[in-house]
């Protein structure tokens, strides 16, 4: 049993694969509606963006309110390249992800000089500039009426909605593994050192400039992948999606799920995005305007008030409480005897 626990249950890769398998339930088993699949697709693309954002916020201690615009950027680029230019999906994916990566590098260079609140608002302004570009450059983005895309075409075959969803889940699991590798590498340890104290990290010979760039570039890259997933799953993109509110939701997702953990952003995406949508489609609650959002907001506040470390630590918390309880009972027994 011990061996099993050590090698199978504790194996991170198997855990991530299990998460992926759970996400695949609506595709494998019949009886789930298409709207539920759309909802889960929304959770998966946010989970991907959140996983990247976690590298920035949870591991490097930097903040950005511009990442929603990066997601939008790659969504528009991918829609334009596959639609207007007729490029194959693989190639356009590459370009679409490269665009926010480069912009993220630029933002990282700005971030070197700014800290905390100033950084948050500077990135907010940066994101707003991008969003204004989405609105005004209508030959590229379709302006307010938005831009259309199709399901991805791979090796000459057009994927169905289910297959696109499976592809997104596979991507999500791969990216989780990638982040796990990253944070346990030299780079990851440098990022964590930077989060804990910039001065101490610098004193240890870690280049703040380099690792801020790395953190911003990686998280922007993930945001880009997430944007491509969005536009080819929902098949539509308009500027009202990529607002600062989405960036704030990314932060909320990471914090509510568990800041600086790999599973946290996934749980966060389920709660922040999945729950309001699920409530909207439930019979009585969903019919009164506003209640789904209200309930999600209340839940979020309650989680933060009473479990500010994040939802992912709840099992560990329960285990700890149980162990304490057992210990206390044993002690009382000992006293009695």
């Amino acid at each position: 049993m011990d061996v099993f626990q050590k090698h199978v249950l504790r194996n991170k890769y198997l855990q991530y694969l299990l998460v992926g398998a759970l996400f695949l339930i609506p595709v494998i088993f019949p009886g789930f509606s298409t709207s539920f699949l759309t909802l889960m697709g929304g959770v998966v693309y946010l989970a991907i963006a959140g996983t990247g954002y976690n590298v920035l916020l949870g591991y490097s201690g930097q903040i950005s309110l511009g990442h929603a615009a990066f997601m939008g950027l790659s969504a528009y680029v991918s829609a334009y390249l596959t639609g207007e230019m007729g490029l194959p999906f693989g190639l356009s994916f590459l370009f679409a992800v490269l665009a926010p990566f480069l912009v993220g590098l630029l933002l990282g260079a700005i971030a070197v000089r700014l800290q905390g609140f100033y950084l948050a608002i500077a990135t907010l302004g940066f994101g707003e500039i991008l969003r204004l570009i989405f609105i005004e450059m209508d030959w590229f983005t379709g302006g307010f009426s938005g831009s259309q895309a199709k399901y991805p075409m791979i090796f000459g075959a057009r994927l169905t909605k289910e297959q696109t969803y499976i592809g997104m889940v596979v991507l999500m699991v791969l990216l989780m593994m990638l982040v796990y590798h990253l944070v346990n590498s030299h780079t990851g340890r440098a990022l964590i050192a930077m989060k804990n104290s910039q001065h101490a990290a610098q004193a240890m010979g870690i280049s703040i400039f380099k690792y801020k760039l790395v953190a911003f570039a990686i998280s922007s890259l993930f945001a880009g992948i997430s944007g491509v997933c969005y536009v080819h799953f929902i098949r539509y993109s308009d500027p009202t999606v990529w607002t600062a509110m989405l960036s704030l939701n990314l932060i909320a997702q990471v914090v509510v799920g568990g800041n600086g953990t790999i599973g946290g952003p996934i749980i966060g995406a389920l709660v922040i995005r999945g729950l309001p949508d699920l409530l909207k489609s439930t019979p009585i609650i969903g019919e009164i305007a506003g209640i789904p959002v209200l309930l999600s907001g209340v839940l979020m506040i309650v989680v933060l008030m009473f479990y500010s470390k994040g939802l992912i630590f709840i099992p560990a918390g329960i285990r700890l409480a149980l162990r304490k309880h057992i210990l206390r009972r044993e002690r009382e027994k000992g006293k009695g005897a």
Partner: protein
């Protein structure tokens, strides 16, 4: 030349709305050390409250005053119940609570007041006055005058009164303030109340232009954040000046360069400015001790 001054007056008018919101942001930031992301949403909710009173037959002026009092209490209540009352939470977690508040009030507003936007008339509906070729609505005078009066009032409150001193001490260092016997819980409670009332006033000023709906404050909220950073967050007056600069500059760029791209150009300039001066116009450099 008349067009130039016309743009400046218009800019000061929108700048006033940003300034009120920015003042609210900086009050909370300085005393409670957190960014209140829910300020715009709270303003929206209180504007709904004010209009619903007006529709129930309460005279407009009384309705506005009641709404301001309601906002004051709501802000203080939020601080005591969900912000200051909690221990063991990171600074980021606290800010995320204000994000949860956005969801709560964006859910409450359509529940209580329906999904249709409310219209809201100007406080003074008289036609424009002609001052040497510049047309100014009396309502604009009211907005600008009220904002300036409030800002001056707050300035003297902060600089001259005992409570103002308590606020400044808390802003400088909450821990020391507490040790010196400043009731910082009451200070943050008051700051939240006043800030929420300022946000409500800002919402009521923009209401005749946008109507009262769930997303009415998005633009003001965003610009008040950017104004705070432009002016520098470590002072109380910096954000207010930043707000007026944004209002005026946006109008001038829109008139002389490009109305389509004015905001993008303005934000780009501000971004550049912040990279050069990372603490804003009036901000002081904070030195971290290792």
């Amino acid at each position: 030349m008349a067009a130039f001054f016309q743009n400046i007056v218009g800019g000061i008018e929108t700048g006033s709305m940003y300034a009120l919101a920015a003042m609210g942001l900086v009050l909370i930031y300085q005393t409670a050390k957190l960014n209140n992301f829910s300020q715009g949403t709270l303003g929206m909710f209180n504007a709904f409250f004010c209009t619903s009173l007006f529709r129930a037959g309460v005279p407009l002026l009384v309705a506005i005053l009641l709404a301001l009092v309601f906002a004051l209490i709501l802000g203080a209540l939020i601080d005591t119940v969900v912000i200051s009352g909690i221990k063991n939470i990171s600074a980021l977690g606290r800010q995320m609570i204000t994000l949860g508040l956005i969801m709560v009030f964006q859910g409450l507003a359509p529940m209580l007041y329906g999904t249709n936007p409310f219209s809201f008339s100007k406080m003074i509906s008289a036609s424009a006055l002609d001052l040497w070729g510049v047309k100014v609505l009396p309502n604009s005078f009211l907005i600008i005058g009220l904002t300036c009066a409030l800002m001056l009032g707050l300035y003297f409150f902060l600089e001259r009164s005992n409570w103002g001193l308590a606020v400044r001490v808390t802003a400088a260092n909450p821990m020391t303030a507490k040790l010196m016997g400043v009731p910082i819980r009451r200070v943050t409670m008051g700051a939240w109340g006043v800030a929420t009332a300022l946000g409500c006033l800002s919402a009521l000023m923009v209401a005749p232009i946008t109507n009262i709906n769930v997303s009415m404050m998005e633009n003001i909220h965003l610009n008040s954040f950017i104004a705070s950073v432009l002016g520098g967050f470590q002072t109380f007056y910096g954000p207010v000046i930043g707000a007026f600069i944004i209002g005026v500059a946006n109008n001038l760029i829109g008139y002389y360069i490009s109305s389509k791209w004015s905001l993008a150009i303005l934000y780009a300039f501000i971004l550049l400015f912040i990279v050069i001066r990372p603490n804003g116009l009036f901000g002081k450099k904070t030195i971290n001790k290792v």
